[in-house]
């Protein structure tokens, strides 16, 4: 697969179809494969594909340093690709100008990341080129996740859980920076005239930040889990997003990034909506 990936990247750069290929590079033993941005055909051999390709590279598509390089090709797993669907719906990418190299994925990490156990998108669905063949069938339904265990607790226990978890947050904003859907030019957490969210890494400031982050991703988060992976304090941030994703699915039958035809919950209106106020 790595060989075919390199050939594809080289060809796209040689033909001038793209000016940059965003992929994974060689990693040190046991470490996550670091993202690389390849701009010369002769550098295509730096690309790698293996079970440590965790990062969701869609995050680079909205960054101004990367946009400045020209047209891009991006290497995605099936799960990452969902972010492209949302980004296109939100008019953040021009899908026609983008080349998508989809990698068939049997899961990442040793042991496998939790999200991989019930993966329904091992084969990317909308890529311009798909590399690899699926060895195992896609899961029929999303499997259990840590959210079930958390929601089985009482509200008081959940409050205590998050208080302990957020106490470790140092406000490095890795959760925001790795998120392919946190693309705001200026985040509400960075608004300082006046300050909207306390910048202090205190219980108040941390709750304000994490609740805001989760709500801004409601009905948008595609569950790639990068926020949890990136957190240096080991806070399972993805659980907050999963809770909102579950509510979105239950109330609106919508799963972000799954169906390119489906209208986003916040970008559409239907007389069948449950709440009266909107009619």
């Amino acid at each position: 697969m790595t060989q075919r990936l390199r050939e594809t990247a080289r060809r796209l750069l040689q033909e001038g179809k793209v000016q940059v290929v965003i992929g994974y590079g060689p990693s040190k033993p046991g470490a996550a494969a670091p993202p690389v941005l390849i701009t010369r055909p002769e550098d295509a051999d730096k690309l790698e594909w293996n079970g440590r390709c965790f990062a969701n590279l869609a995050v680079y598509l909205t960054r101004k340093e990367v946009k400045a390089l020209g047209k891009a090709a991006v290497v995605v797993k099936g799960c990452d690709e969902k972010a492209l669907v949302v980004l296109e719906k939100e008019s953040q990418i021009d899908r026609a100008a983008l080349s998508v190299i989809g990698m068939v994925c049997e899961g990442v990490g040793t042991p496998r990341a939790a999200k991989c156990a019930s993966c329904q998108v091992r084969v990317p669905r909308f890529a311009d080129e798909v590399i690899g063949e699926a060895a195992q069938p896609a899961a029929a339904a999303p499997g259990p996740n840590g959210l079930d265990r958390l929601m089985a607790k009482s509200p008081a226990e959940r409050w205590a859980f998050w208080k302990t978890e957020f106490a470790r947050c140092v406000k490095c904003y890795a959760c925001r920076q790795v998120c392919p859907l946190c693309y705001c030019e200026r985040c509400i957490a960075d608004k300082n005239r006046p300050v909207v969210i306390d910048t202090s890494a205190t219980p108040k400031g941390n709750f304000a930040w994490h609740i805001t982050r989760a709500f801004h991703l409601a009905a948008r988060c595609i569950g790639c889990g990068e926020c949890t992976r990136a957190c240096p304090a080991g806070i399972p941030l993805g659980l907050l997003n999963q809770a909102l994703a579950q509510a979105t699915e239950e109330d609106f039958g919508y799963r972000p990034g799954m169906d390119p035809q489906a209208e986003p919950v916040f970008g559409s209106w239907s007389p069948a909506d449950k709440e009266d106020f909107i009619r």
């Binding site: 040190k28 941005l37 140092v170 202090s200 240096p232 399972p236």
Partner: protein, 347 residues
Amino acid sequence: MSAAIPVAALRELIAGWIGQGKLVAAPVQVGDRLLYQALASAQDAVFDARRRPANSIKEFFFPRHEPIFRYRIEGKEIALAEVAPQEREQIVIASKPCDAAALPILDHVFNWDFEDSFYTARRARTTVVSLACQAHDDACFCTSLGSGPEDESGSDAMLHDLGDGQFEVRAITEKGGALFPDRAGKSGDTPGPSCRMAGSPPNEQFDPARVARYLAANFESPPWKDLTLACLGCGVCAYTCPTCHCFDIVDEGNAAGGARVKNWDSCQFPLFTLHASGHNPRAVQPQRQRQRLFHKFLIYPRKFGTVLCTGCGNCERNCPVGLGVLKVLQAIDDEAKRLDEKEPLQA
């Protein structure tokens, strides 16, 4: 004299210190991470000479959030209230030598043109007991900076793991020895504890002097962009770094009053240099990465005679995209070597 101390006895000592009202911090297992935390119980301390916590001990000297004074607004009057520097005694135990070594480096800047009394009070009231290191990973590079797994810099005492749950302790300062009455040996005692490194210490992977020479001559050069374009601009490297010490000062409160506080800040955030006019002199991420390395390996050494880095490798280990000081400096060192061979740079 020095005797082997079983880990149970270390825990008894810790329980005693906590009982005396001291804040005792040590590595603690939290989920899949090892993190320095204030101990609720002596049992939580992890004495593992082969693992590095994901954060650093700087938090106990330079907290992520610290009020420096409080204010109350009553009508047209504003009443200020001093916040006293911390009085509480602290002990950091089982710290990595690469964390402790950051303290003498930080002392320079916190006592430079202005003495930060909050930092110096904590520093004076804290005793640091390190645990000599016995393993390294691919992100470690202490030896490239003249340090090493048994570096005593910044430590008041050092534990050496003898195996089988036994430790030898060596006093480095009087304060460190006082924590282990009749049980501490002295720094440099012979025969030394057999260093049970799993494998050898990390190789020297770049030459900091050559790197500094290159930086001084190559502010605008293409490698910066290539090496750092993948940086996503979070603060993980800075916030888990034992030596990064930038902070922001903000007022937090409401119409009735509040506090002026010091909060950690990072040169990796666009907001760090954003002017009120909207202009940002460091407009893109590679410029911010360059700043971080310049500060650590050129500006700080010029000012204070020491690099602002201990080689702990936390930046790379914690970085969501696997960047970090080591990778970039190795590439820069290679480039500097290549240029040196062509035409030696003047120091």
